[in-house]
């Protein structure tokens, strides 16, 4: 029973830390499936976290915070879109640039506006997202196993958490069951086919990066307004890159993305939990090894030693009509 409770606790924190990964990885999915590589997920998420924290602190409204987060993230996504789609610039370079601009601007603006060393003011009450208790969570908490799973693991999360998980099937549906999704997947594989079918490659790709911006915005808002109560300098701490790794690990498929993020989140939760503890058989595993594992796994996958991650065929290449 003790092990079971520990497991529930670990899984609970797995869910907590997976949410921003899922949102950011899904964001990357929209962009990359449309053929626009995005290593600027980190920056967009960070800028959104700041915008959300700042707006919520000023207006005392979590929803306005969320809107601000999405707005800022979409703006950065449009910069990336302008560089990669309209100017046909290098998508990697553009992504790197956005990461730095976000990293610097959040601190400078935060310090200028709030003078708390780059933090935004502590959020409370309506300015922060609160957790949602599922019906009867308290009543059945005492039922062994099921009750614990229901009330401790499934219940008591933020709205945004449920939203993130709902976005997984939704994204799947959009991608495979709607016209937009069909065209989005097509433009990432063969923009020529989309162009000759009379569809604007440019507008389609812009819509994809906007979707990416929206989801990164939500991810950022979750970080500063749900998971914690306010923005802290550099709070994404590489989550955008873990999300990118998860996206590759999931071979750019929505449901796989969720599982990859949960796996990486689980490794994260374990590494916090295990600090210094011994594992049966294996012995002490350095925390750092657990932290590096998502990246190691992704490299091994990329190297084609376990399956093969084949990116969208037109990814990273600006579309130029061929002669």
């Amino acid at each position: 029973m003790e092990y079971f409770d520990t497991l529930i606790v670990i899984l609970q924190s797995t869910v907590r830390v997976s949410v921003p990964l899922i949102l950011a990885a899904l964001a990357g999915l929209y962009s990359e499936r449309a053929g626009i590589f995005d290593i600027g997920l980190e920056g967009k998420m960070l800028a959104a976290a700041f915008a959300g924290g700042a707006a919520a602190a000023v207006t005392a409204s979590a929803l306005i915070g969320l809107a601000a987060a999405i707005f800022v993230s979409v703006c950065l996504a449009l910069v990336h879109g302008f560089a990669s789609i309209t100017q046909r610039g290098n998508q990697i370079v553009s992504g790197v640039a956005i990461n730095f601009i976000a990293l610097g601007a959040t601190v400078i603006l935060g310090q200028a506006w709030f003078r708390q060393g780059g933090r935004t003011p502590q959020l409370s009450g309506d300015s922060r997202f609160t957790t949602v208790e599922l019906p009867y969570a308290a009543e059945i908490a005492d039922i062994p196993v099921i009750g614990s799973i229901y009330s401790n693991l499934l219940s008591g999360h933020f709205m945004l958490t449920y939203l993130a998980f709902a976005l997984v099937p939704f994204t799947w549906w959009v991608l495979y069951r709607t016209r937009f999704g069909l065209r989005l997947r097509a433009v990432g594989e063969n923009p020529g086919a989309v162009d000759t079918a009379g569809i604007s490659v440019t507008w389609l790709r812009y819509r994809a990066v906007i979707c990416c911006g929206i989801l990164c915005g939500i991810a950022g808002a979750y970080l500063s307004m749900a998971m914690t109560a306010g923005f802290v300098k550099g709070m994404t701490a590489g989550k955008g890159f873990i999300a990118l790794a998860a996206l590759i690990f999931a071979k750019w498929k929505p449901v796989n993305v969720m599982f990859a993020c949960l796996l990486f989140g689980f490794l994260d939760a374990m590494s916090i939990r295990m600090q210094g503890n011994e594992l049966p058989i294996i012995g002490v595993v350095p925390v750092q090894f657990m932290q590096a594992l998502p990246y190691l796994l992704t490299v091994i996958l990329l190297a084609g030693f376990i399956g093969k991650a084949i990116p969208p065929r037109a990814g990273g290449v600006p579309y130029v009509k061929e002669r």
């Binding site: 100017q87 956005i98 601190v107 990118l244 084609g304």
Partner: protein, 377 residues
Amino acid sequence: MSAPYAKLPAWVDYGLIPLINLIVAFLVAGLVVLAVGESPLRAASLLIEGAFGYGEGIGFTLYYATNFIFTGLAVAVAFHCGLFNIGGEGQAYVAGLGVALPCLWLDQFAPWYVIFPAAILGSALVGGFWAMIPGWLQAKRGSHVVITTIMFNFIASSLMVYVLVDVLKPAGSMAPQTRTFAEGGQLPRLDWLLASVGLDIGGAPFNMSFLLALVAAFVVWLVIWRTKLGYEIRTMGHSPTAASYAGIRQSRIIIITMMMSGALAGMMALNPIMGDQHRMQLDFVGGAGFVGIAVALMGRSHPVGIVPAAILFGMLYQGGAEISFEMPQISRDMITIIQGLVILFAGALENMFRPAITAFFATLGGARSDKSLPAAE
């Protein structure tokens, strides 16, 4: 058609357009300064004053520039082969081991001029090895070097935390860092160099590795433009088809280039470890690997451009620190923004102003345009 843009005079291509991109980046940065309620002009003058106004400032500027010369060269070498090495940060970090271990083993017995070559070799080998793996994966397994080098940055970071916390930290110490090296592990400062022009370096850790960086810049120029290997690297970078026609072995060149790139990034570790802190600390690279991207883009991947670009960023780092005394709103993070803007305008948007400039020169030189047109087919 083969040439997307009409031909411009070389000075426009290599001088004017990069300059305009740079100016735009700084103008946007000025807007940020304005947004936080400070005067961009005063900030600029504080910056220059802080970086170049007195001996110690110059010392610090050049100290930072040393880091950026190494990492800028690292990115540039890879660019010449058509590779984007984002992993300079991790390569430099891991290469810290190649510097710290010789120091820890030998500092009691050997003078700096014995340990320095060992550390140079060590950092280059370790950094080169760390970059070789993504290079090998790109050449043999087709894994995109951009993604693998990003992943290797994080792996490096975890590895180094482990090494510093669990292996190299002296018993009884709390701080995740090695012990402080004895004199043998400390590089002499270059105070005499600045003293020769009448400047007092003060406490600035401006040291021997700056000279090594200049040598590295020269060697990079030599290798890329004056050796057979460099010729093959550039052929690969410009046209893989021509490289295969010429019988150049592509995987070999990719792996060698990545190793060179990693070795250069790795040597950056000498400057803070042996030149300044005299021990290896957590996160001693401090983003220099990424600054290298901006430096390489700004310097157009040529050592002659990279050294001044690195000094410019050294100036921003040092001056930025100075500004924050006068303008508490503006911390060194301002530099991160400028860095991002430079990468954006000099890199991703490098051709944004080109059509306008081309049009301008076309109207200017309309009469003689017939002669200067390249042959189109």
